[in-house]
């Protein structure tokens, strides 16, 4: 009998040894990531598409994760926030409607089970495409370490009188690629309106990266309709009149190219409408 218990005790101790107590500080110390990158060098950027809503209590915590990622990857991390689903519904307390047809279509397509949820470069991480906010950071890090396969450059030209915006996106293949599609989306920051948070409603919450519209449809347009070899270049231009309710100062253009075969995003770029 005694032997058995010694054996068990030994096993328990063995298990006890296999745990990692982490001491403060818990956050990693981040050096400046961009110091010796030459400006012309193409880097792999990562897009987080976030499904959110102003009635969703955990969504501000999601936005917080996105902000933290911005801090450690200032030039390489881009966010689009789609207000969609049950939590984005409007009522007298939450009167502003941030929902869009494109955002709703993507919400239906990716089927987030809970909010906030995100998609990182539309690639699965641990076999899952739709990710909880706690996993955005490692999924972003994983995508960032990939070799860039495509270069994207955005040129914007905005005429204030007519609210006319022209966007020219130039894509250059750096290697052999699947057929690609390109999406050109408009996002807006600095939007102040009520938001539910874990402690209750925040009346003057600032919504950033809010998806406003696509300039070329939910699923974009063909960039390279066939398999592409390195150094192939193409420029796509669009012209649009901006919606009068948007503040041009706070608008950004986010464009990304995704594989028409796997649906995965291979490169993304962001530019302000007014620099």
């Amino acid at each position: 009998m005694k032997k058995v218990f010694h054996f068990v005790l030994g096993l328990l101790l063995l298990l006890a040894a296999s745990c990692d107590i982490v001491d403060e500080p818990y956050t990693r110390i981040i050096g400046n990531d961009d110091d010796d990158n030459e400006p012309t060098e193409v880097v792999q950027k990562v897009l987080l598409e976030e499904f959110t809503g102003h009635q969703c209590p955990n969504c501000p915590a999601g936005a917080q994760v996105a902000n933290q990622l911005h801090e450690i990857y200032p030039e390489k991390f881009i966010v689009i926030a789609y207000h969609a689903g049950w939590f984005a519904r409007t009522n007298t307390s939450f009167p502003v409607d941030y929902r869009t047809t494109e955002g709703t279509a993507l919400d239906v397509y990716f089927k987030p089970g809970s909010y906030p949820s995100g998609v990182v470069n539309r690639k699965p991480y641990n076999n899952t495409i739709i990710l909880d906010r706690s996993i955005w950071a490692p999924a972003t890090a994983a995508q960032m370490s990939n070799e860039p396969k495509l270069q994207l450059q955005i040129l914007t030209n905005y005429n204030e009188t007519y609210r006319a915006l022209s966007v020219a996106v130039t894509a250059k293949a750096l290697t052999t690629l699947d057929p690609l599609k390109l999406c050109i989306f408009v996002t807006e920051g600095g939007l102040v309106s009520p938001q539910v948070a874990s402690g209750g409603t925040i009346d003057n919450y600032v919504h950033n990266h809010v998806f406003r519209a696509s300039l070329n449809g939910t699923w974009g347009q063909n960039l390279f309709s066939q398999e592409t070899i390195a150094n192939q270049v193409r420029t796509i231009s669009v012209l649009t009149i901006l919606n009068s309710s948007w503040n041009a100062q706070n608008l950004s253009i986010v464009c990304f190219a995704y594989s028409d075969v796997t649906g995965e995003i291979i490169q993304v770029e962001e530019a302000k409408v007014i620099e």
Binding site: V8, L15, A16, T27, R28, I72, G113, I135, A137, S198
Partner: protein, 550 residues
């Protein structure tokens, strides 16, 4: 031991070889059992109650188990298909395939299995893998398990594996050990007193690939338990602890976790009394730090409240808040004697139950850090502290009485406080105070026919307001049952949402087979398991359920 393992390997090898090589015994003397369960719904639309047609129109969940046993050897597979999943189930279920398969060998000393298995250590505070198809939960481990019973009353268990995550495995590897000793089972087998002691340790490995935080890759949890039974008296307790485990459900804080569950009861013919107390502090343990809702749970901390069986008393079900909860429950079952003036010819059963759940007292680490700030220790608390925020309380009384050979009645009332904001995660919403009364009369006639009427009423000024419900059931034993019911949300503050939810059903059962057909509307409801509540959307559907065991 070696011989045993060789035997198992040989048996498995035999199993996988062509059937020609089987000895006849393997086939003739084997036991086969299994079951099939399928539920299919055709969805209709009623936008006013929030019931929508699905794109596919039809949803179907199908499960089939087949188990093979020959002497100590057993093997089984479960096929599952979601074509697509029924409304309210996670869309990650969509698809079909073999969801569960195992081979195991057991005798009086050993029990070893490979493949998928379900296991529970103690009351499940640090490890419980289980399945419940009605809730869409199956977190079986896939790996290896050994159970050894070296002496009568002593059980040792060792497990290793990964948990099921829909059609994949979770990212974390789970290792666990458990020992339990029924002290007197060997020493004094005939003793009326029983003492049980046990301990368990579970550790999870998950790589740290996070660019923001330094995360522990190996997270361990331990638990110790004991119970004592003597005559009608029973007392038991389990205490568990978990080291730093920053996760999706605790907002990435590094505080260690702990939980205590204690129960005592006394019972004799005619009366049973039970008290349960529970204190939980940051004890949500899963095999992935990123898992949410009901995914990949290891700790099982059920709520300390009455489990209701009628619909309106169960409209606001409480679920444990594993990040912090202090709760208490008391329950008395009393039977007024048969053939007494008060008890009537057949006796009368009374059940009185009261429960309460509060927050625990969480204090700021320092003046500048808010409680539960990610990447900190989160908060301070002292063991068994009780916070100011009430989550739930309930006082419930139910009386059931058989009046004569053919007439049975049940009547009950319950008053509840339900912190909607906290439990369902909608901050700012008003807590619900509800009073529910119900009665159930059942009358048997012509030997095997029975009519049962249920009337229920829920009154509250909050949430959706008052509800009334009526149900009538007619059954012909042992095969047929017909029921119609209506739930009417007549007190809804919004006029256009004062809706009737009609439901009709017919079921037929014969031996181990059962078919039931249902048509009607069901209101949006909350299903709670462990610490998480799941919203099941309203539906308007025609459904068929088929269940068979063989």
């Amino acid at each position: 031991m070696n011989l045993k393992i060789t035997r198992i390997i040989a048996a498995i090898a035999l199993l996988l070889l062509s059937k020609a090589s089987f000895s006849q015994d393997f086939i003739d003397k084997a036991n086969i059992s299994g079951n099939i369960y399928s539920e299919a719904s055709y969805y209709l639309e009623d936008t006013l109650i929030g019931a929508y047609k699905t794109r596919e129109n039809i949803g179907a969940n199908i499960y089939g188990n087949i188990l093979y046993r020959y002497k100590g050897l057993s093997a089984g597979v479960r096929y599952e298909a979601y074509l697509p999943q029924l409304v309210g189930f996670d869309s990650k279920f969509e698809g079909m395939g073999i969801a569960h398969r195992y081979v195991s060998y057991s005798d009086s000393l050993f029990d070893v299995s490979i493949g998928n298995y379900y296991e529970q250590f103690g009351s499940g505070l640090v490890l419980r893998t289980y399945e419940d198809k009605n809730l869409g939960i199956d977190n079986a481990l896939d790996g290896f398990r050994a159970v050894i019973r070296p002496l009568k009353g002593v059980t040792l268990k060792a497990v290793i594996g990964k948990q099921r995550y829909y059609w994949e495995s979770g990212p974390g590897t789970v290792r666990g050990l458990d020992a339990e000793w029924n002290v007197l089972q060997l020493l004094k087998p005939e003793s009326a007193t029983n003492i049980l002691v046990g301990g368990s340790a579970v550790s999870r490995y998950q790589p740290d690939d996070d660019p923001l935080y330094i995360l522990p890759e190996n997270v361990a949890a331990y638990a110790g338990r004991m119970s004592l039974t003597s005559g009608g008296f029973f007392v038991s307790g389990e205490y568990a602890q978990k080291i730093n485990d920053p996760s999706a459900t605790n907002s990435t804080i590094y505080k260690s976790g702990q939980a205590l569950v204690a129960t005592t009861s006394y019972s004799q013919k005619g009366i049973g009394i039970l008290f349960t107390g529970k204190w939980v502090d940051n004890m949500d343990f899963r095999s992935s730090r990123n898992a949410t809702s009901n995914d990949l749970t290891l700790s099982y901390i059920p709520s300390t409240s009455l489990q209701h069986t009628y619909s309106l008393p169960g409209m606001y079900p409480y679920a444990t808040q594993p990040t912090g909860e202090a709760s208490l429950m008391g329950q008395v079952n009393y039977q007024i004697r048969k053939n007494s003036k008060l008890g009537g010819k057949y006796g009368t059963n009374i059940q009185l139950s009261a429960s309460v759940a509060n927050s625990i007292n969480k204090q700021k680490l320092n003046d500048t850090t808010e409680i539960e700030t990610p990447g900190t220790l989160g908060y301070k608390t002292s063991f068994l502290s009780i916070g100011n925020e009430k989550y739930f309380h309930e006082v419930a009384l139910e009386i059931s009485r058989k009046i004569n050979k053919n007439l049975k009645t049940v009547a009950g009332a319950t008053t509840q406080f339900y912190n909607l904001a906290k439990i369902q995660g909608h901050p700012g919403e008003e807590s619900v105070r509800a009073l529910v009364v119900y009665a159930d009369v059942s009358y048997k006639f012509l030997e095997s026919q029975n009519i049962r009427i249920e009337a229920q009423h829920l009154s509250t000024k909050q949430d959706n307001g008052n509800w009334a419900m009526l149900l009538a059931e007619y059954s012909i034993a042992p095969r047929w049952s017909f029921a119609i019911s209506d739930q009417f949300n007549y007190g809804n503050p919004e006029n256009e949402r004062r809706k009737h939810y009609y439901l009709g059903s017919v079921s037929y059962s014969h031996a181990s087979h059962r078919v039931s057909v249902r048509f009607g509307k069901q209101s949006e409801g909350v299903v709670c398991i462990g610490g998480v509540c799941r919203l099941v959307p309203a539906s308007y559907a025609a459904s068929v359920v088929l269940s068979t065991s063989f």
